[in-house]
């Protein structure tokens, strides 16, 4: 069987390219066009990518994972039920939660717990977003659109529950779009103390 050989012509240079001068003119023309467009051209046509950082800031993309926040219920308490899913999922082990029981006269008593201590060490955090994925209650979110405010002290990066609750989402709200059905509400999907089985 004969082997078919496809002969590809070696790319050569034309006389104009070999003469160098027309190519110089072309290159100079290109660079000059670019220069004039970006220096004296109309604002809309400029293609300058530089951002003068402290004065101008780039909007982060919509799904940017910023610093965490703890979402609130309508009464201002954290939605977190202290299930420890996030701290378990966390590969950096930067979340520390101490769960606590509600008082016996609280309607939520016996259904869920709440975090008495919820601390995130933001310097350890690797911003992977696993905690957000793991949370069954939509209680921890990274939709703040903020990066860490710089500080000279490590203590300033240990965010406690109050701090995390006080950070709003990018849309300015402390709640989430997902409605929460409290035990005792008519919309509560599960079994509860009053309705029985």
């Amino acid at each position: 069987m004969a082997v078919e050989v496809k002969v590809i012509k070696k790319p050569g240079r034309t006389l104009a390219e070999q003469a160098y001068v027309p190519e110089i003119a072309k290159g100079l023309g290109f660079a000059m066009g670019r220069f004039f467009k970006n220096t004296f051209g109309p604002q809309a046509k400029k293609e300058i990518d530089t951002v003068k950082y402290p004065e101008e800031k780039v909007e982060y993309p919509e799904r940017f994972r910023g610093i965490h926040r703890l979402t609130q219920r309508t009464d201002g308490s954290p939605r977190c039920v202290a299930c420890l899913c996030c701290s378990t999922a966390c590969p950096a082990q930067c979340i520390h939660i101490e769960p606590a029981e509600y008082e016996p006269d609280d309607p939520r008593y016996g259904y869920e717990r709440y975090p008495s201590v919820f601390v995130i060490d933001e310097l350890r955090c690797i911003f992977c977003g696993y905690c957000v994925e793991a949370c069954p209650c939509d209680a921890i979110r990274m939709d703040t659109g903020m990066h860490m405010p710089p500080s000279t002290s490590r203590d300033h990066f240990i965010y406690d529950k109050e701090t995390l609750l006080s950070i709003p989402g990018r849309d300015g709200t402390y709640l989430t779009a997902n409605p929460r059905h409290e035990p005792g509400d008519d919309t509560h999907p599960g079994v509860d103390r009053d309705r029985g089985h």
Binding site: I24, G27, L28, F30, A31, M32, R34, F35, N38, T39, E47, I48, D49, T50, K52, P54, E55
Partner: protein, 471 residues
């Protein structure tokens, strides 16, 4: 009296040249080169160096802004009212108002200028407030910051290097670049006694004449060649004295490259001497003023192109920056230099760019010559059409226009050189040498031959006469 006057005027001229080159052009080119390259590459470039004002000053500026704007508006309205009244008076032909016409004109000028100045002040103050109290001046403070950094940096001398030669290198590289300006005429002669009069267009004028040129040497351009070849020593010495193989290689490369291109540089200008029949730069400008710019005489066009190429090679800048060749030689003969010594090399390079632009503009682009501007003012005339429109100008104004024209030509040529620097890739060393010895040297020799033939056959005079008729 004349001696003191000549000495003083020479000193003033030297000072002006130093201010223009070292004080003005060199820092601005350093800024422009980086800024321009950035603009080509869709970046902003250096624009962050700032003088930070204290918060109290910012508050004051912020408070002063609004009154300033109001004052600008008020004075602007007054100026407009004055303008309208003046127009009314001009249309009517007489002035029935209680205010005299001259005071109206004076108030128009005064209030107009005040309005513009206040408006500009408002804009500047707004910009300062917007930037949070930082005065940035589109990055022009970067050369200042660089100079400060250079001065306060450690002045390192290689322990086994030659200390004297190491320190002499940058000086020898910088001084010739500035010295080349000595013979460059930056405007036509100044007739000191008739500054505020309109001079006759032709003829000798008695009285004190100040040539606007530091030294009127009859070797003129040869002086520039002599001075420029001194620069080789600076590069070679600093390469040798650095006690570093890369530096030595860079120095050798610089020396061989500059020696080679020196030959071409001289030969490319020989046609220009032949056409202008003089070595004096002021005579060359005068010839171009009387006849036509050198660039429009065909053989000199070729000479101009080859001269520019050879001169860029002579300044050792891209695409001929093999002596520095950072990919092969670290930094060439600059490797061991730091602080202000490096700054002097840097400065020397940029002053060379300026002097090259000045020489090219004098020899090929008419120097201080402005089309339609004569010693008695402008006279505009169309080719092949009878009649002309002339604007007589006083002598000092003519000289000022010529000076500005010369500066503009120099700026344009500098800009072109920077453009080349950012557009072309570096040559290989053998390409550099073959371009010189096999390409440009025969070409310039041939050009000399052609110019000689054209002059002898009278064709060149015919061309020049034709061109003169055109303008």
């Amino acid at each position: 009296m004349t001696t003191t006057f000549l000495v003083t005027s020479s000193l003033v001229k030297v000072l002006v040249i130093l201010l223009i080159t070292v004080g003005g052009f060199a820092p601005i080119i350093i800024w422009a080169e980086r800024r321009q390259s950035a603009m080509i590459q869709d970046r902003l470039g250096p624009s962050r160096a700032a003088i930070v004002l204290p918060a109290s000053a910012v508050t004051f500026i912020d408070r002063a802004r609004l009154p300033m704007w109001r004052l600008a508006a008020l004075t602007g309205i007054v100026a407009i009212v004055a303008l309208v009244t003046l127009t009314f008076v001009a249309i009517k032909g007489s002035n029935p108002l209680p205010i005299s016409t001259s005071s109206l004109t004076a108030s128009l000028i005064a209030f107009g200028v005040a309005s513009v100045v206040l408006r500009a002040g408002y804009a500047v103050h707004s910009m300062i407030v917007r930037n949070g109290g930082k005065i940035m001046l589109i990055g022009l403070l970067h050369p200042v910051a660089d100079a400060l950094k250079f001065i306060f940096k450690e002045d390192f001398v290689p322990p086994k290097g030659d200390k004297l030669l190491f320190s002499a290198g940058p000086i020898i590289a910088l001084i010739p670049a500035i010295a080349a300006f000595a013979v460059i005429p930056f405007a036509s002669s100044l007739h000191w006694d008739y500054l505020d009069q309109v001079l006759p267009r032709t003829g000798e004028i008695a009285g004190l004449v100040v040539p606007l040129q530091v030294a009127s040497l009859n070797v003129g351009i040869l002086f520039i060649f002599a001075i420029a070849s001194t620069g080789i020593i600076g590069a070679a010495i600093s390469g040798y004295a650095s006690d570093n193989k890369f530096s030595l290689l860079g120095g050798i490369r610089a020396a061989s490259q500059m020696v080679s291109y020196e030959v071409v540089l001289g030969l490319t200008l020989v046609p220009a001497f032949m056409v202008y029949a003089s070595l004096r730069l002021e005579d060359m400008t005068m010839w171009q003023h009387d006849h036509v710019w050198g660039i429009f005489v065909p053989p000199l066009t070729l000479a101009a192109v080859t001269f520019l190429v050879a001169a860029i090679a002579e300044t050792k800048r891209v695409p001929f920056d093999l002596p520095e060749g950072e990919s092969e030689l670290v930094g060439g003969y600059l490797t061991e230099y730091s602080g202000m010594k490096f700054g002097m090399f840097f400065m020397g390079e940029f002053v060379e760019v300026v002097s090259l632009a000045a020489i090219a503009s004098v020899i090929f682009f008419g120097g201080w010559d402005v089309p339609f501007l004569y010693r008695d003012g402008f006279e505009f005339a169309l080719p092949f059409v009878a009649g002309s429109y002339s604007v007589p100008l006083v002598h000092w104004l003519v000289v000022a226009i010529q000076f500005v024209a010369f500066l503009l030509k120099v700026i344009a040529l500098i800009w072109f050189q920077l453009m080349i620097r950012w557009s072309l890739p570096r040559f290989r060393y053998d390409q550099l040498m073959s371009l010189c010895w096999k390409g440009m040297l025969p070409l310039s020799l041939l050009n000399i031959l052609v110019v000689g033939a054209l002059i002898l056959s009278g064709w060149l005079d015919g061309w020049v006469a034709f061109f003169e008729k055109l303008f």
